[in-house]
Structures are given as structure tokens and as C-alpha cells.
């Protein structure tokens, strides 16, 4: 009886279509395990082999990987939220209300986006702590540390621009605090605040600017920096370890 599924599996595996998708056998041998990582566009971010200590969670805390994971979650939930949200002062607040009361699983979606955003600020911060105390910024990784500090800065900015979007009392006055800080920039305060917020008070322009920065400008910048960050980790010899 069991021969039938076994035969079907065998036929599938040797079929023309299957072999066009996967160019290696099941990864149960060293060769196929290497090929599985090597020939897959997502997995090939990894090397084929890593040094054993790089697997130790007490060493890495997994925080870099989890920051990336949360970035992906935020991209996914954020894209779904975009279907229901209009960045205008007429609609923004009622669209969020609708998400909570009308849209199926809308509240859950918004909650996930919110808590993942807070989580990402924390994981990026902890990742930075881990990298510093393990001396992982040392040669040849100097420039990757610089990219990392930029990613920390942009993570905060992403979170902050998203904070305004619900257009409620909480978000409005929290961002007002930031607006006052921007205006206090020495020498170019008013111009800087005008460019960032689109006016001399928080209004429709600020909402639209923050929205565009939040869903296009900053995610693209962060994605770009992440690509360089990961690339350089590989080029600089992977995760640090004792010499």
C-alpha cells in the first residue's frame, strides 16, 4: 500500500518541473546541504558553514536576526494596514477607528504593527549592546558598525513617523514635542521644521509627509542599509568569535 505514495514522490522528484525548481536532492548529505543554501536566493544570505560559536544564543542573543524578523513583520502588517488607511486629516482617525471596529482582525493587525515596532526599537538597541560588548566593531568590521548606528537612528525615525499617523491626541501631542525640538535646532531651526513637517504647525502636510516617509522613504533607506549590513557581515568573515 505504501508503495503508491513512495512511487508518486519518486516520480515527482525526478519530474522535469521539480528538477527545474530544485537543483539538488533532499538536503541529507553534506553536498545537498551545501547546495540547498548555495542555490537558494533567500538562504544564500548565509554561508554554507558557520563556526560553531556563532550558533550560541548566549553569545549572539539572536538580536540582529530578530530585528530583521520584526522588520519583515512590520513590512507585512504595515502593507496590510495601508489598504485601510488614508493619510488625510479628514480620514486618518476614522480609518483607525474602522480598523478597530469594522475590519475583520483589524485590531489584531494594528496591535501587531504597534508592538512589533516597539519591539524593534528594543531589539536593535540590544543588538547594538551585544555587538559593542563582544568587541565586534573591531577591524575589519568598523564600517559595518557605522551602518549599524545609522540603522538604529532610522529605526527610531521609522517608529516616530508612524506614531503620528493615528491622528489622535496621543500621537498629535507626542509629535508636537518633536516638532518643538526640531524648531530649536541651532541656526536652521525654522527651515528644518518647515521641511520636515511641511508648515509652521502640525497639520495635513505634516501627516502626509510623515506617512510618505513612514511607508516609502524610510523603509527603502533601511532596506538598503540592511542589504549592505548583511553583505558586509559575510564579507568580513561572519559573526565574530574568539580569534
Amino acid at each position: 500500500m505504501l508503495e503508491i505514495p513512495a512511487q508518486i514522490w519518486q516520480k515527482t522528484k525526478t519530474s522535469y518541473i521539480w528538477r527545474s525548481l530544485f537543483r539538488h536532492g533532499y538536503p541529507d548529505s553534506r553536498k545537498n546541504q551545501s547546495l540547498a543554501v548555495f542555490t537558494n536566493v533567500f538562504l544564500h544570505l548565509h554561508p554554507v558553514k558557520v563556526r560553531r560559536h556563532a550558533l550560541a544564543i548566549p553569545y549572539t542573543w539572536c538580536m540582529g536576526g530578530l530585528s530583521f524578523f520584526l522588520f519583515l513583520v512590520l513590512t507585512l502588517t504595515g502593507t496590510l494596514l495601508m489598504f485601510y488607511y488614508r493619510p488625510t486629516t479628514e480620514w486618518a482617525y476614522s480609518d483607525i477607528k474602522d480598523l478597530e471596529t469594522v475590519v475583520v482582525f483589524g485590531q489584531l493587525l494594528r496591535n501587531m504593527h504597534r508592538w512589533a515596532a516597539h519591539g524593534m526599537v528594543i531589539t536593535v538597541f540590544l543588538h547594538m549592546i551585544r555587538v559593542f560588548y563582544t568587541g565586534s566593531y573591531k577591524p575589519p568590521r568598523e564600517f559595518n558598525w557605522v551602518i549599524g548606528t545609522l540603522l538604529f537612528f532610522f529605526t527610531i525615525l521609522l517608529s516616530y513617523t508612524g506614531y503620528l499617523l493615528p491622528w489622535d491626541q496621543l500621537s498629535f501631542w507626542a509629535v508636537t514635542v518633536g516638532y518643538e525640538i526640531a524648531r530649536a535646532t541651532p541656526a536652521i531651526g525654522d527651515e528644518f521644521a518647515f521641511i520636515l513637517f511641511g508648515g509652521f504647525q502640525l497639520g495635513p502636510n505634516a501627516l502626509l509627509r510623515f506617512y510618505v516617509l513612514h511607508v516609502v522613504g524610510l523603509p527603502l533607506t533601511v532596506g538598503f542599509l540592511i542589504a549592505i549590513h548583511f553583505w558586509r557581515i559575510r564579507k568580513d568573515g561572519g559573526i565574530t568569535g574568539p580569534l
Binding site: 551545501s34 524578523f69 508592538w115 548606528t149 489622535d168 525640538i181 530649536a184
Partner: protein, 262 residues
């Protein structure tokens, strides 16, 4: 004899080389390491990544099912909550605003802080202690010392500021300080404290723990991280209406609609 097919080399460059790889010694997995020191990414690393992603997905679902994201009333410029607070990860800056000039606390200090952070590997160029937590036992001692030093100092300075301001410091400064209540209290004193206490920390660990560059870098990084944390905690959980200082358990509720008195 006919010329070979394909693009022809320029005269004088007939010998053509292709660059296949450019490998520096310190940027590859070392060849002299034995096989036992390495693990296959499939399955060992991918399993860890998969489990971590699953656990965090479940955790995020659970948190999102249990706690709703906050949403207050529609914004209105006529009704200012007291206090108005920034998101928690910026409350450290908002806390700093209370103790010095706005532009200094909100823009100049964080910018310089980020620039210094980025510059760390260019100041500490040694390769000592790569891949070892705190580099050494001495590094760990320095970390603990710097954490205690900066936590106590930051907290005391916040309390001192609150105490002085409650006892007429601003009025005293406007009457007697050169430059009034601006120059010394908002610029000179805070700048001197930030730079002076950082240098003092470095000098102490150099004397007390014979710190080298990596180790005083640990001290300064730890000091700043803990200052950042203390400022965040105070800003988040100890500031009530009027941004006055309260005990964390005694902070009055935010006045949701605060009409400014004119």
C-alpha cells in the same frame, strides 16, 4: 592565419587576466580551523532561526491579542494634555530638555552622541578581545563600575535640579549669574557637566583599573548607555503634570484637557 574570435585585446595588453576572487586573510572562515569547529548552516543554523521566528510570531500574536494599541480621542489643537509626552524611546531627550537649552538637548547632544557612537571603531582600533564578552575580567569590572557611576550621578543630578528649581534657583540665576538664567544654567553648566563627568569617568578607570583604549571605551559606552536608560526611565515613569518629578508609584494621571491660562 585568422585572428581569434571575440573582442581583441588592445596592443600591449595581449595577456588577459580575469579576476575570480579577491580574498583577504582575515575575512574568510579560517582554513586552518579543524572541521569540528564549523557547523553546516542547513540544518543547524536554519533550525535555530526557524524556531526563533516561530516563537516570536506566537509571542507577538499573544501580546497583540491581549493588549490593544492605545488610541485616544481625535486630535484637537485646543486641548493640550498635561504633560504632553513623546514616545517612550524619545523621552530620554525630553527629559534632557528640562535641564538645558532645547536645541542643545534635543539636537546637538543626540547628534554628537550618534557621531561618537559611529566613531568608536576608529578610536579603538585594537583587535584585542574580539568575540569575548567584556574582553576580560577587568572589562567586566569596568562595565559594572561605569554602570553604577553613571546611574547614581545621572539620578542625583536630576534630583538636585528638581531640588534647586523648587528653591528659587531660576530666580537666583536671573538676578546674580552673569548672562542671567540662560548662559550658565542652560549652556555652560550642563555642557561642563556632560564633558567633565565623561572625562572624569575615563580618568578614574585609567587610574583604578589601569584601563587601555578598549577598556576606557567600554567605560564611556557603558556610562552613556546607562545615562540614556536612566533618562528614559525617569522621563517615562517619574514625570507628571507640568513635567514635575514624582515617585514612580505616585505620578498623578495626565490631565487630558489642559486649557492654558493666559
Amino acid at each position: 592565419m585568422t585572428a581569434p574570435r571575440g573582442p581583441q585585446p588592445f596592443p600591449g595588453q595581449e595577456k588577459r587576466l580575469r579576476l575570480l576572487a579577491f580574498v583577504r586573510q582575515d575575512s574568510i572562515v579560517r582554513v586552518d580551523k579543524r572541521v569540528e569547529d564549523t557547523a553546516m548552516v542547513w540544518p543547524h543554523l536554519l533550525t535555530i532561526e526557524f524556531i526563533a521566528a516561530m516563537l516570536w510570531t506566537i509571542g507577538l500574536f499573544a501580546i497583540s491579542a491581549a493588549f490593544n494599541a492605545p488610541l485616544q480621542d481625535h486630535q484637537t489643537p485646543d486641548c493640550t494634555p498635561n504633560p504632553s509626552k513623546a514616545p517612550w524611546y524619545l523621552l530620554n531627550l525630553q527629559e534632557l530638555l528640562l535641564h538645558m537649552d532645547k536645541g542643545l538637548a534635543g539636537v546637538v547632544v543626540p547628534t554628537l552622541w550618534l557621531v561618537f557612537m559611529a566613531a568608536i571603531p576608529y578610536i579603538d582600533r585594537s583587535r584585542e578581545g574580539v568575540g569575548i564578552w567584556f574582553t576580560s575580567a577587568n572589562g567586566l569590572r569596568i562595565t559594572i563600575f561605569a554602570a553604577v557611576y553613571s546611574t547614581l550621578l545621572t539620578f542625583s543630578l536630576i534630583l538636585l535640579d528638581a531640588f534647586l528649581k523648587a528653591h528659587g534657583y531660576i530666580e537666583f540665576a536671573s538676578d546674580y549669574f552673569p548672562g542671567g538664567k540662560q548662559l550658565l544654567p542652560n549652556y555652560v553648566i550642563p555642557i561642563a557637566l556632560m564633558i567633565g563627568l565623561s572625562i572624569l569617568l575615563v580618568v578614574i578607570v585609567q587610574r583604578l583599573y589601569l584601563a587601555n583604549t578598549r577598556e576606557w571605551m567600554i567605560a564611556i559606552f557603558t556610562g552613556w548607555v546607562f545615562t540614556y536608560l536612566v533618562l528614559t526611565v525617569v522621563g517615562t515613569s517619574m514625570r507628571g503634570p507640568g513635567m514635575d518629578l514624582f515617585a514612580p508609584w505616585g505620578v498623578p494621571a495626565t490631565h487630558q484637557c489642559f486649557a492654558p491660562t493666559k
